[in-house]
């Protein structure tokens, strides 16, 4: 057989396979290294610090776990959160992440490696990303082959869509959850392929780990049953499916109920009922199959059919009935918000207020996935070509995850693995076709036809030309695209010559190279900011660190009594608890909407209304984030409308959103701001003495690009306690009631008035006397 380039012929197959497996191991370890290394930008550019908001709680909980042991952690009641309610942490947390760090911590200390718990928390996500790459390799290997697996591992290792949630310091549930997701899916595919209860059990155990780690486990809970159901409907029921699904479902469901936060949900909420339904259906189908194997009379099959349909209908009716009577909880609001993107804004503003729950903007698909996003459909089509049971899984996963990623930015994370898998399948099919050296015998006749078109339009050639003897799926596409006429000798389509191959392969490698550049750029610029520490550039190009958050939290820690209650918007609750170690009213757990609405009401009403609320909740300090001086756009004035909306949800008579807009419907903070806006506690605290900073000049808010009034707001019920270097964090102390029983406003006026009015009334009085 002629080849396009010389191949060594004196190698034994054993040598080839040994070398290949050695290369695979080397490649996988390099991929793991790259995955870990590219996540270290955050540590190198800033420092080894916990990022953002939720990770601070996880870190705090992990410290408790490491210091006091697992039982203390399990029974931990935190009186400082949600003051005065407190929070049962052990029962309202997914403990998988903390337990993982705790195990690593104990293990390292058992080896006499005294590693600080913070460093374990910071490095956990990069470490697990290496495991994710490996799990993706295993998963993709089941779809196509090892080379596709390696490509998928490389893709998931550096793709920004996954890095965004797993840089060093981003100590969140997702850090370990994506590994668990991929590995559970791998075990499921393996169990289905082999019909092995071992892999079914493994899938269940990793499912349990996933349930303990992340609320997104519901995705697995519905993906696997959906796959099973589709297979049954496609007439692909096998005993292997029965073995795999039954062993996974029974053990997985029972184990998921061990997590206190999940509790009895797997048998009582609608989200989990699909899995139960498919389980029941499988039992019926299996029973039917068994009976059919013993008897094959027509009459009996009819009977079975009736039996199966009746049972199915009865099951459906029972489900609806139980939902109505209340034994099964109906779908939750979070679930509805996945289907109706406007639902959350109307009914649960607290969910809609989180920026990562917004619908995804189109550019972020390219930002997060780069060229994978257009290889992805090609990979899905290639899955359709083979359509074994596991390819059905990838197709369903692709469809579901694409939809969810479009609805919520945060769910981009679940789309990323399947995009990597599908693109790797497509990409490695392309490479398989073009790297393969084999050429058909009669190269002379058709080489003129194939070669020029390929060199002109490489992409077109990739779709149309294909080597017939590679057994690749591109052959099928080519065959489908150019149907051969009857009677005529089928014309062989193939790739001839080195130039064709080089054109395509260079192109492909060019795409890969750009991908690597893009990933590095996106990671270092967009996804590595801790958001606790901000960075800006000096005039000479050097980096300037803005450390206002830690400055303020440290001030609280050093200058206030340990019992001082701090009120802030819920975004900062975990950070205050983690860094300042002070009780907070609300935090990022957001379990109690009314409590949050109370804080929202206090922030958005006038001082006179807010003061009793503050006093009733024992608030000593109020903390606001203000970016107007620096141009930090994530500040409280920009979040203010959400506070108003959430408060309005509970007190519609007292707080109305339209009051905070100008009559023209604009959101302004300058002279034209509405009275409700100007009197609100939030506005006053943000702009208190702000104009003095400009020494009589025009005081400009750099976030909203508006000039604030020259005469700033006055505060009667609060005292400014601390303002950080760049004014990002401002802390106010709540005044105690006046000693003489006056309300603070008149007391204040009296204190001020005494100085100003002393001369005139006194003289008048003298005149009278």
């Amino acid at each position: 057989m002629p080849t396009a380039f010389p191949l060594p012929s004196d190698l034994s197959p054993a040598t080839v396979s040994n070398t290949a497996s050695l290369l695979r191991i080397v490649a996988l370890s390099l991929i793991s290294g790259a995955a870990i290394a590219s996540r270290l930008f955050a540590v190198i550019n800033f420092e080894s610090i916990i990022h953002e908001f939720d990770p601070w709680f996880n870190y705090r909980a992990t410290r408790v776990l490491a210091a006091k042991g697992f039982y203390e952690f399990w029974n931990w009641f935190d009186p400082t959160a949600w003051y005065p309610l407190g929070r049962v942490v052990g029962g309202t947390v997914y403990p998988g992440l903390m337990a993982t760090s705790g195990v690593i911590y104990s293990f390292l200390h058992a080896l006499n490696l005294p590693v600080d718990i913070r460093n374990i928390c910071v490095m956990l996500a990069p470490g697990f990303s290496a495991l994710t790459a490996w799990a993706t390799y295993m998963f993709t290997k089941e779809m196509k082959d090892e080379s596709a697996g390696l490509l998928a591992a490389a893709f998931i290792g550096i793709v920004p869509g996954y890095i965004s949630r797993s840089v060093a310091g981003s100590y969140d549930n997702e850090a370990i959850a994506i590994f668990l997701l991929m590995f559970t899916f791998y075990c499921w595919i393996k169990a289905l392929k082999l019909g092995s209860a071992l892999f079914g059990t493994l899938a269940a155990v990793f499912y349990f780990y996933m349930v303990a780690a992340w609320g997104g486990y519901v995705f697995i809970t519905n993906m696997i049953p959906l796959h099973g159901l589709v297979l049954i409907l496609m007439g692909r029921y096998t005993s292997r499916l029965y073995v795999a699904y039954s062993s996974w479902y029974v053990i997985g469901t029972l184990s998921s109920m061990q997590v206190p936060f999940v509790g009895f949900q797997p048998v009582s909420t609608s989200e989990h009922m699909a899995a139960l339904g498919v389980f029941g259906l499988l039992q019926i189908v299996a029973f039917t199959q068994l009976v059919r194997s013993h008897v094959s009379s027509k009459q009996f099959q009819d009977l079975l059919f009736v039996f199966a349909v009746t049972t199915g209908i009865l099951g459906g009716v029972a489900f609806v009935g139980l939902t109505y009577t209340g034994s099964i909880a109906p779908w939750t609001g979070r679930f509805y918000s996945l289907w109706d993107t406007g639902y959350a804004k109307k009914h649960i503003p607290i969910i809609a207020s989180v920026s990562e729950h917004q619908p995804t903007a189109w550019p972020s698909f390219f930002m997060d996935l780069q060229f994978l996003i257009f290889l992805f459909p090609a990979g899905v089509i290639l899955c359709f070509h083979q359509l074994r049971d596991e390819h059905v899984f990838v197709i369903i996963y692709a469809v579901m995850a694409s939809y969810f990623a479009g609805v919520m930015v945060r769910l981009m994370l679940t789309l990323t693995p399947v995009v990597c898998v599908a693109s790797a399948v497509a990409f490695s099919s392309l490479l398989d076709t073009y790297v393969d050296a084999a050429e058909p015998e009669h190269a002379e006749e058709s080489s003129e036809a194939a070669a020029p078109s390929a060199s002109k339009k490489a992409k077109k050639a990739a779709a149309q030309a294909a080597a017939p003897d590679t057994g690749s799926t591109l052959t099928d596409i080519a065959a489908a695209a150019t149907p051969t006429k009857k009677g005529e000798k089928p014309k062989t389509k193939a790739i001839y010559g080195l130039d064709t191959r080089l054109a395509i392969i260079m192109n492909a490698f060019g795409m890969l190279a750009f991908f690597v550049f893009h990933c590095t750029w996106a990671t270092s610029n967009a996804y590595s900011s801790p958001s606790v520490v901000l960075a800006s550039t000096n005039a000479d190009g050097s980096q300037h660190i803005i450390d206002d958050f830690r400055e303020a939290y440290y001030w609280l820690r050093q200058n206030t009594p340990e019992t001082a209650v701090v009120m802030s918007w819920w975004d900062y609750g975990y950070q205050i608890a983690g860094m300042a170690d002070r009780p907070t009213l609300v935090d990022n757990n957001t379990w109690n909407n009314t409590h949050i609405a109370t804080v929202g009401k206090a922030m958005s009403s006038s001082e006179e209304v807010a003061y009793p609320i503050l006093r009733k909740h024992d608030v000593d300090y109020v903390l606001v984030i203000f970016g107007g001086l620096l141009g930090y756009s994530g500040d409280d004035i920009n979040k203010f409308l959400w506070m108003v909306r959430i408060a309005q949800g509970v007190w519609p008579e007292e707080i109305q959103e339209p009051n905070y807009f100008t009559p023209q419907g604009e959101y302004r903070v300058d002279d034209m701001a509405s009275p409700a806006m100007k009197n609100s506690l939030m506005y006053k605290m943000s702009y208190y003495r702000f104009s003095e900073l400009f020494g009589g000049g025009a005081a400009t808010d750099r976030v909203r690009n508006q000039q604030v009034p020259k005469v700033g707001p006055t505060l009667d019920y609060l005292d400014e306690a601390y303002t950080t270097e760049n004014w990002i964090v401002r802390i106010y102390e709540v005044r105690k009631e006046d000693l003489l029983g006056r309300d603070l406003k008149s007391a204040n006026a009296f204190a001020l008035g005494k100085k100003r009015k002393r001369s005139k009334p006194v003289s008048r009085r003298r005149a009278i006397v």
């Binding site: 082999l194 019909g195 092995s196 209860a197 071992l198 079914g200 059990t201 269940a204 155990v205 096998t238 005993s239 292997r240 029965y242 073995v243 039954s246 062993s247 479902y249 029974v250 053990i251 469901t253 029972l254 184990s255 109920m257 061990q258 009895f264 048998v267 039992q283 299996a286 029973f287 068994l290 009976v291 194997s293 013993h294 008897v295 009379s297 009459q299 009996f300 009977l303 079975l304 009736v306 039996f307 009746t310």
Partner: protein
Amino acid sequence: MPPKPAPATPVSTSAVQTLWRAYNDNTSDRLKFVDSFLVFLMLSGVIQFAYCVLVTTFPYNAFLSGFSSTVGQFVLTASLRSQVNPENKNEFKDVSPERAFADFALGSIVLHFFVFNFLG
């Protein structure tokens, strides 16, 4: 698996009898032994469920763990049965009967670990 009482229609009696006869003739003793265990598990599950519906669900976790132990053991045993059934040899190329039993044992141990943990 023994025949479930199918919906009572006139045709069913003879059909069930045919089925019973075919089952008795075609099934090896080993599988019949497994089937008898399955029947036992099913009866145990039915009794527990009846107790839960008729009397009380009070220690709900205890009921759930007991019931899942029977259901789980049932499906694991049914899996074992289909894996060792000579008729299914083509489907389970990689699972020998010994391997199937090892899988069954491991699955049962994991299952009962969680059952025990959940009993409360």
